[in-house]
């Protein structure tokens, strides 16, 4: 089966003053449909760059990125927007719900940009909210909810468009550990239902909840393998970090 996400020697350079900074240095990996992958790395490791490229928010400076067989690097901004709408579901650290809209309207947003008619949109958004256990709260505004509930709304929003990839950027970063665990459990459920989940985090204890870990350092892949392997959480630089801790 062809890879859903295929990075081939992806490089990303940023111009900084006089010089250039290499944020991604020949990164290659492939993620197949149905995998639950964590991309782990400390700040400056290139994981944000990776996430931006996977999320079609940015394009590689060199190398190719194929999403579902389509070369994203060659696309213009509008095509990228279309790809984001069709194939990707984002979950952000800060939830990023639109404060003026109620929960239902928030979940409807991706469908609106997909051109789904109003009636169907309502129905699907309602179903997605119900799936996340917030069906009865659809009239509320995001600010009236707890952090965990807001994150569940944002998961509903990510799921409503039936995307190929769920891209979660530090989804537990703003939550206490108990709600964080709940959110991770939801992601694991989604994986169990057959969704492809990519989790971006700096936290090993979160990362090990995934099936597979891709560890980045200084823009390079330093580990790519099962999350259960001991070396998955041990970095050459920061050896001795406790791994596989019960989260």
């Amino acid at each position: 089966m062809a890879a859903l996400i295929a990075f081939q020697d992806v490089c990303k350079y940023y111009r900084m003053g006089d010089g250039t900074v290499t944020a991604a240095d020949h990164i290659s990996f492939a993620i197949t449909r149905g995998e639950f992958t964590a991309i782990v790395g400390s700040s400056g490791s290139g994981k944000s760059t990776c996430m931006n490229i996977i999320g079609c928010l940015d394009v590689p400076s060199a190398g190719t990125y194929r999403l579902n067989g389509r070369d994203v690097g060659q696309m213009n901004r509008n095509q990228l927007a279309e790809i984001r709408n069709e194939l990707l579901g984002f979950i952000f650290q800060q939830y990023n719900l639109l404060p003026k809209l109620n929960l239902l309207e928030n979940v409807e947003v991706p469908l609106m940009y997909a051109g789904v008619p109003r009636g169907e949109r309502r129905e699907r958004a309602r179903a997605a909210l119900e799936q996340l256990g917030l069906g009865d709260k659809w009239r509320h505004k995001p600010m009236e909810l707890s952090g965990g509930q807001q994150q569940r709304v944002s998961i509903a929003r990510a799921l409503v468009g039936k995307p190929s990839v769920i891209l979660a950027d530090e989804p537990t970063g703003a939550l206490d550990s108990r709600t964080g665990r709940e959110v991770l459990a939801i992601l694991q459920d989604l994986h169990a239902q057959g969704h492809t989940v990519v989790l971006i985090t700096h936290d090993n204890t979160i990362a090990v909840q995934a099936q597979r870990i891709i560890r980045l350092e200084d823009g390079r892949v330093v580990y790519d393998g099962p999350a259960s392997a001991p070396e998955a959480v041990v970095t050459p630089r920061a050896a001795g970090l406790p791994g596989g801790g019960g989260v």
Binding site: N52, A81, L98, K100
Partner: protein, 396 residues
């Protein structure tokens, strides 16, 4: 995303910040209201002028003779002779002498307008005498100290029994011999029923001047050009030059006056319209602030699949709706102020002035304000649409 959805989104954002939206719209509201009121007043004034001119007779020509300079003097007899020579074009003639200084009735001075005329004036102005008698040729010939008064004067100052009473014009006591029929309803001070006519010969003596103005009626109103031409050539033949008189037809005068009013209204409305531009700049300013404030929202929308076109549409729509809404409020306010202006005008002029902006002005005001929104919303919307989604997502 459809236009209806952009519209719904724009309304939602507008409703969620009412005070700011209202302040943003203020420039547009004031501009539109000002244009509506000015155009309305202008239209009302034009109608008023047209109305009062038509009551003066649209088939008349006014001849004004320069008081000095010419080698020959045009006596009233000469003018009558000219009119009599051209019965195919010209019908009646009356010298007119207006007297300034007001009319004294008892101890008070009134605003009644007094004019010296011939016995034909009542035919010229289609006014009939309801009490007493009209002015007669003998009154003119003898410079009789008599006058006829309008129905208002009769009613207001003499309790309906004016005939036989006296009043004073320019220090001269005149006996009222007749009362004219009521011209308009209701009668008002300063209106066409607040008038007084005396023999022109008497008036000329009171004013101490020669008759210099005549009203001549045409046989056929439709033959304005020909009739005027006949009078023109007769007068220029008399003076040997066309420098010493002017002939103005009522309809030309009306055209000239309405033209002047239109021009004035146009200039004033143009000045008021500057406020629309200022209002548009205000909208642009707020929209730019709004784009900055909502950078994160834009980032989120983009990450969820909004194309540049959709973001653009959202912001342009918001500016256009804000501006158009301001236009609608401005139209409402304009009508309200027009009604107030009409009331005030009625008080001041003693004359009903219909202040009617007209459908065209209203539609134009609405269209222009919406257009201003689109125009001035374009720049902020472009800024929003071009935002880089990554930067926008991480904006605080």
């Amino acid at each position: 995303m459809s236009i209806a959805e952009s519209l719904a989104l724009a309304l939602k954002n507008i409703v969620s910040s009412k005070v700011r939206t209202l302040l943003t719209m203020l420039g547009i509201i004031i501009g539109v209201a000002a244009v509506i009121v000015i155009v309305g007043l202008g239209n009302g004034l034009e109608n008023y002028v047209a109305g009062s001119f038509s009551s003066m007779g649209a088939n008349t020509l006014t001849v004004t003779v320069m008081p000095r300079g010419a080698t020959r003097t045009l006596e009233t007899e000469d003018m009558y002779a000219i009119v009599a020579e051209h019965p195919e074009e010209l019908a009646l003639c009356s010298p007119t002498v207006s007297l300034a200084g007001g009319v004294k009735i008892g101890a008070g001075t009134t605003s009644t307008s007094a004019a010296g005329v011939s016995e034909d004036y009542s035919s010229i102005y289609h006014s009939l005498v309801s009490q007493g008698r009209d002015l007669q040729y003998s009154d003119i010939a003898t410079r009789a100290k008599v006058c006829v008064v309008g129905a208002y004067v009769n009613q207001a100052y003499f309790g309906g029994n004016a005939v036989g009473q006296t009043l004073r014009v320019g220090g001269q006591a005149l006996t009222i011999v007749g009362v004219l029929e009521q011209q308009e309803s209701p009668m008002e001070e300063g209106g066409s029923d607040d008038c007084l006519y005396l023999p022109y010969s008497t008036a000329a003596r009171l004013g101490g001047s020669r008759v210099s103005s005549y009203v001549v009626t045409m046989v056929d109103e439709a033959r304005l050009e020909q009739s005027k031409q006949v009078l023109e050539s007769a007068l220029s033949g008399f003076f040997g030059s066309d420098d010493y008189y002017t002939i103005i037809s009522m309809s030309e005068l009306l055209d000239a006056m309405t033209g002047t009013i239109s021009l004035l209204v146009g200039v004033l409305a143009g000045i008021a319209a500057i406020s629309l531009v200022v209002g548009g700049i205000g909208i642009m300013n707020i929209m730019l602030v709004s784009v900055t404030e909502r950078t994160r929202e834009i980032g989120v929308r983009k990450s969820l699949g909004a194309k540049e076109r959709s973001i653009m549409a959202q912001f342009v729509m918001e500016a256009a709706v804000t501006s158009a809404l301001g236009g609608v409020i401005g139209i409402g306010l304009g009508y309200l102020l027009s009604a107030v202006a009409a009331t005030v005008a009625a008080r001041l002029m003693g004359e009903a002035l219909t202040v009617s902006p007209g459908l065209f002005a209203v539609l134009a005001a609405f269209g222009i304000s919406a257009g201003i929104g689109v125009l001035f919303g374009y720049l902020p919307a472009t800024k929003a649409a071009r935002l880089n989604p990554i930067d926008a997502l991480h904006y605080d």
